[in-house]
Symmetry: C2
Subunit: 77 residues, 2 copies
């Protein structure tokens, strides 16, 4: 199984969702990317269709926007 | 592990999210509730904090609103 990628930016909504997702999905199958700490990955996240964080990009390329923490514009600011 | 509950209402966004969630989480750990077909469960969903569908209520009671298909007002209409 290929990995999902969970994008977040350290906001409280993100951290809460991260805990929930990692309790539901095998953590070995999820790569966590903190866009606030690793801004070089913002372009890849946007190319994948991520509009806001937290978001989970599934192995088949779908984007699940989970609740709403911050827009990508906020992440880039 | 207690079950999560995935609430949806048959909308295209809901069905797409359902497929994604069931490919990520063991289906044995998720109860699927179609609020359009089972309106008697709308009150329980709202009590759990569901504001829109699709949404996943985790075993610890958190609500993950995934993308946006329809508001609960739309579901009740």
């Amino acid at each position: 199984m290929s990995k999902s990628i969970f994008y977040h930016a350290g906001c409280p909504v993100c951290v809460s969702a991260e805990h929930d997702i990692l309790s539901l999905i095998n953590p070995a199958n999820v790569e966590i990317v903190h866009l606030g700490n690793d801004k070089s990955k913002i372009a890849a996240a946007e190319a994948a269709g991520v509009k806001s964080v937290p978001a989970l990009v599934t192995p088949n390329g779908n984007v699940l926007h989970i609740n709403f923490g911050a827009s990508m514009a906020d992440v880039k600011a």
